[in-house]
């Protein structure tokens, strides 16, 4: 009997400790609900915690290869070409720029990106500012950022002496949701993200950018380059 008393006292002492813990949270009736597992406020997730988790998922997908990695495109800006004796550069000066995780489907983003190819930068900004789609305004911001980068960091001389040689929009990842139809039928909804890649080069745009790839000479060149790029895997 004496042991039972001690046990009951211990039990009460533990419970009293729990009750005192729950008092400062607020209302008095929460003491009765002390047996329920309540999440503290520190365990709630902010926007930044969610973003960190999602970015970790995206990094893992990039590592596995199911999403294109976003690092290699701006690394082309770090290549340093040696100076030549003539003074003419080995390669036409260029700038790579991109924007990733744009909340816009890549299928729609591709249309203004196609329109821009081969245009000078002034013409492109004019056309995009009066375009119907939302993605065109996003592309315009990216082009202006790339123009600033080129002038400040890559030693381009004139703001309007640039043209666009490469621009595409590519799928990156999708978030899935659910919607309800007429009876107990459900449907899947996808919220899509894309990336947009751009390359600006210095100079006047070539006159027949779209038609260059269609001549017999150009197609023959591409075919020969493809054959010469091949390498034997695991060779000495």
């Amino acid at each position: 009997m004496f042991n039972n008393l001690i046990k009951s006292l211990n039990f009460l002492s533990h419970n009293i400790y729990h009750i005192n813990r729950s008092i400062p949270t607020g209302l008095f009736h929460t003491n009765l609900a002390s047996f329920v597992n309540k999440q503290d406020k520190s365990l709630e997730e902010d926007d930044f915690d969610l973003q960190r988790k999602e970015s970790a998922k995206i990094k893992n997908l990039e590592r596995l290869g199911s999403i294109k990695s976003h690092i290699s495109w701006p690394q082309y800006n770090r290549i340093i070409y040696p100076p030549t004796e003539d003074g003419k550069p080995i390669r036409n000066p260029f700038v790579h720029h991109m924007r990733h995780f744009v909340k816009y489907p890549a299928k729609k983003m591709w249309y203004p990106a196609l329109m821009i190819r081969g245009m000078s930068i002034d013409e492109a900004i004019k056309q995009l500012s009066f375009h119907r789609l939302k993605g065109a305004h996003i592309i315009k911001e990216v082009l202006l950022e790339a123009q600033d980068l080129a002038l400040k960091q890559h030693n381009f001389e004139f703001k309007s002496n640039m043209w666009i040689s490469y621009s595409t929009a590519v799928d990156s990842f999708r978030v899935k949701g659910v919607r309800k139809h007429r009876a107990m039928r459900l449907g899947m909804v996808e919220y899509k993200y894309c990336t947009y890649y751009v390359r600006l080069e210095e100079g006047v745009p070539p006159p027949n950018y779209h038609l260059e790839a269609e001549t017999y000479e150009a197609r023959a060149k591409e075919y020969i380059e493809k054959l010469r790029k091949r390498s034997i895997y695991l060779s000495i």
């Binding site: 550069p89 000066p93 909340k103 030693n155 978030v175």
Partner: protein, 316 residues
């Protein structure tokens, strides 16, 4: 039918209600033709947990979200200071042919009186760690350090450069040099290098001592800076130029592995203008100084030479 008493209400209600045709002119493209059941239609979809990658941290802070805490502890570097103690003010007209002008004579007189009173005490502190410290010899070794540091710049290796250059100077030399190629050549020295100023200071603790020495170097050099693509951006590869500089060398005296290294350069206001950059560019916006930041930056070095008084006490 509404009664005649509520004529005013009829008038107001007509403006608020738009016809379907008027609604089609102003609403966005992707909408249903009948907006009556808009809110019920919204309830069919689950609320997606979409994240904004587009908004910046500033906009989020305005909304009330705290920025993420960064657990990167930046390392503190004790081997070099970030400033010049008691900067040497070079006299005007130093590198020009007319040495005996009025301005030069005035400047020379002023400088001699200020420096001799405490120069020997500073020298004594330096000789405690370096017993073989001679001013004339040091000027020549300093010039050699200067040559080594600039010739290694083109290799783009910061770890090698730290043997000849302090962290403060590496920041300034290496930052704009990353994506460019530099060709630098030393041709000859036009005048002997001269030590002009000696200062020692102690950091928070009494045993920490740093020494700085300014050396005057007059030389001929070639500098050519090339672009990322190999185009000439500044200078020339063949024409040499006369260069007058007041270079500051620093050493951490209380460190057994410390050595004399290039720390900073003093550019006087009367120096001739630099040659312009080859390409044309738009002037950037004027540099705005952060007044609040500058108030917070407090140097850990004392501004006095009060540690020199103890040398007299030890003697006596």
């Amino acid at each position: 039918m509404l009664s005649i008493i509520n004529k005013r209400n009829i008038f107001l209600h007509q403006k608020l209600v738009k016809s379907l045709y008027e609604q089609t002119l102003t609403r966005p493209l992707a909408t249903h033709w009948d907006p009556k059941f808009r809110r019920l239609r919204k309830n069919k979809f689950t609320e997606p947990t979409l994240l904004d990658f587009d908004s910046n941290t500033k906009e989020k802070v305005k909304r009330g979200i705290e920025p993420p805490t960064s657990f990167i502890y930046k390392p503190i570097n004790i081997t070099s200071s970030k400033e010049i103690f008691d900067p040497y003010i070079p006299p005007e007209g130093d590198g020009k042919a007319s040495l005996f002008s009025k301005e030069f004579a005035k400047g020379a007189v002023e400088k001699i009186t200020k420096s001799t009173s405490k120069k020997f005490k500073h020298l004594r502190l330096i000789k405690k760690s370096d017993s073989n410290f001679d001013e004339n010899l040091f000027a020549e070794t300093a010039q050699q350090i200067y040559i080594d540091a600039h010739s290694i710049l083109s290799k783009r290796d910061p770890e090698e450069m730290l043997n000849f250059v302090t962290e403060n100077a590496l920041m300034k030399m290496y930052h704009n040099m990353k994506f460019k190629t530099i060709r630098w050549k030393w041709i000859e020295s036009l005048e002997e290098p001269v030590v002009k100023h000696l200062v020692t200071r102690e950091m928070m603790v009494k045993t920490d001592l740093y020494a700085q020495v300014t050396v005057r170097i007059h030389s001929k050099q070639i500098l050519a800076v090339y672009d990322r693509f190999g185009r000439l951006a500044f200078g020339s590869d063949t024409l040499p130029k006369d260069v007058l500089e007041y270079v500051v060398f620093e050493k951490h005296l209380s460190d057994p592995y410390g050595s004399w290294r290039l720390h900073d350069k003093i550019i006087p206001s009367w120096s001739p203008a630099k040659t312009p950059v080859i390409r044309s560019f738009a002037l950037p916006e004027p540099y705005k100084t952060d007044d609040e930041l500058e108030k917070r930056i407090v140097s850990k070095f004392k501004g006095d030479d009060s540690h020199l008084e103890k040398i007299q006490e030890e003697k006596s």
